[in-house]
Structure formats: C-alpha cells, structure tokens
C-alpha cells in the first residue's frame, strides 16, 4: 500500500512540478505534512542529495521513498516522479515534432512558474524555521546564498562547507 502511495503521490508531484521549483514544495507538502514519511530536517537532507547528485533536484524523491519503505519505496518514488514527465515528453516530441507548443500551454507554464517561486519561498521559510538556529546558522545561509548566486562554487562544495562550519559551531557551542 505504501509503495503504491509513494508511486501515485510522486507521480502527481511530477505532473505539477513546473520548472522544478514547485516540486520541492510539493514534496515537502506530500512527504512531511500529509504522509509524514520524513521530518522537516530530513527534507533538508533529501534536497541536499538532490543538489549534490547529477540530474534534477527531484531525485530527492528517491531519498524520501527509501526512508518511507526501503529499496522498494525508493524505486516506486523514483518511477513515480520520472515516469509521467518522460511519457509526456516523448508523446509531445512525437506528436508535435518541430512545431511550437500551443499558446495556452505557454500561459499555463508562466502562471505555474510564478506560483512556483512563491511556493519555493514557503518551503525555504518552513525549512529555515526548523533548521536555522541563531546567528551562526543565518550567517551560513547568507554565505551559501551569495556563493550559489555567484555561480563560482558548486552546490556540492557549498553543502560540504556548510556542514563543516555547522560542525565547528556545534563544537564551540555557539
């Protein structure tokens, strides 16, 4: 039952994850709030995994699936989150060839992408509220943001650096 739940819920997430931004919010809502498969702190780990591994951040679904139901859960979540977009992309590419997508679809995408920015803000606020403690945490957030926006440091190294600084602060009892 949980395996089917993972597959169906992540399939729904994938269908609404326009631009990738809404996906994280949808995963949070599904996995943390509704199903309770993982805690908010674990979501941070899932997103980190999605950032440091090659490919889209949606591979966080694999982590959630594994935490919820082991290897079978990881397979179900991964299949759910990638199957529908793959089928749709193949169908659209096959049907439309070099033609442009319908105008109404562009409108939908623009509206959904705008909402995705707002929803990413919700996730960021929620995750920050749970995990960022005091000024050292805030300092790490600001530094990581600046480094990520500059594009000169890879997310993997930002996460490693953040973890190292966090461990250091913890040892010094900040």
């Amino acid at each position: 039952m949980i395996v089917w739940n993972l597959f169906s819920r992540f399939a729904l997430v994938s269908l609404l994850a326009f631009g990738g931004g809404a996906g994280i919010s949808l995963i949070e809502r599904t996995a943390v709030t509704e199903a309770g498969w993982i805690h908010e702190e674990d979501l941070g780990t899932a997103i980190a995994l999605g950032q440091v591994t090659p490919g889209p951040v949606m591979v966080a679904a694999t982590f959630v699936g594994y935490r919820a139901a082991g290897v079978l859960g990881a397979l179900a979540a991964t299949l759910g989150v990638f199957l529908a977009p793959w089928v749709m992309s193949t169908a659209v590419a096959w049907r439309l060839g070099g033609n442009r997508l319908p105008r109404w679809f562009a409108g939908f995408r623009q509206g959904a992408a705008a909402a995705a920015v707002g929803l990413l803000g919700v996730t960021c606020l929620s995750l920050g509220w749970q995990t960022v403690k005091g000024w050292p945490g805030a300092l790490v957030v600001v530094t990581a943001s600046i480094l990520a926006i500059s594009g000169k440091v890879r997310p993997f190294w930002i996460l490693i650096g953040g973890a190292a600084v966090g461990a250091m602060f913890e040892c010094w009892n900040f």
């Binding site: 994280i24 980190a48 562009a106 939908f108 919700v122 957030v141 530094t143």
Partner: protein, 70 residues
C-alpha cells in the same frame, strides 16, 4: 540547503518573473502557502489556469515578451 534554496528562488525569480502580474502571482502563492496553508498542488493549478486565462485575453498579462521560452 536553505541558502541554496534561497539562491534558487532568486535565480528562478529572475527568469520567471518578468512582469508585475507574475510577481503578484508569486506573492499571492507565497501568502496562500504560508498564511492560508493552501495545498501547493492547488496553488500551481490555479496559477496555471490564471496564466491560460490571461494568455487568452491578450497574451501580455503574465509575460511581457512571448516566444523563446518553450
């Protein structure tokens, strides 16, 4: 992770929010998600439907420039 998410928001906003109405939609989505705890899926669908509606009205509502984004 929060810092990376923040950076993603800024990058995503730069590319996606290119008209005042798009900014409004993002702010309303944020408010609906935090204050009213509306389901994220519903927010995305409603925002998408609004985008379709605005496109049908004239195509210059959410996005200033049309084309090259598909």
């Amino acid at each position: 992770v929060v810092g990376l998410l923040l950076a993603s928001i800024i990058r995503f906003a730069r590319t996606s929010l290119d008209a005042p109405l798009a900014w409004t939609l993002a702010v309303v989505a944020f408010a609906a998600g935090t204050l009213l705890t509306v389901h994220a899926a519903l927010i995305v669908v409603v925002a998408g439907a609004l985008g379709v509606f605005l496109h049908c009205l004239g195509g210059r509502g959410v996005q200033r420039e049309q084309g090259g984004r598909q």
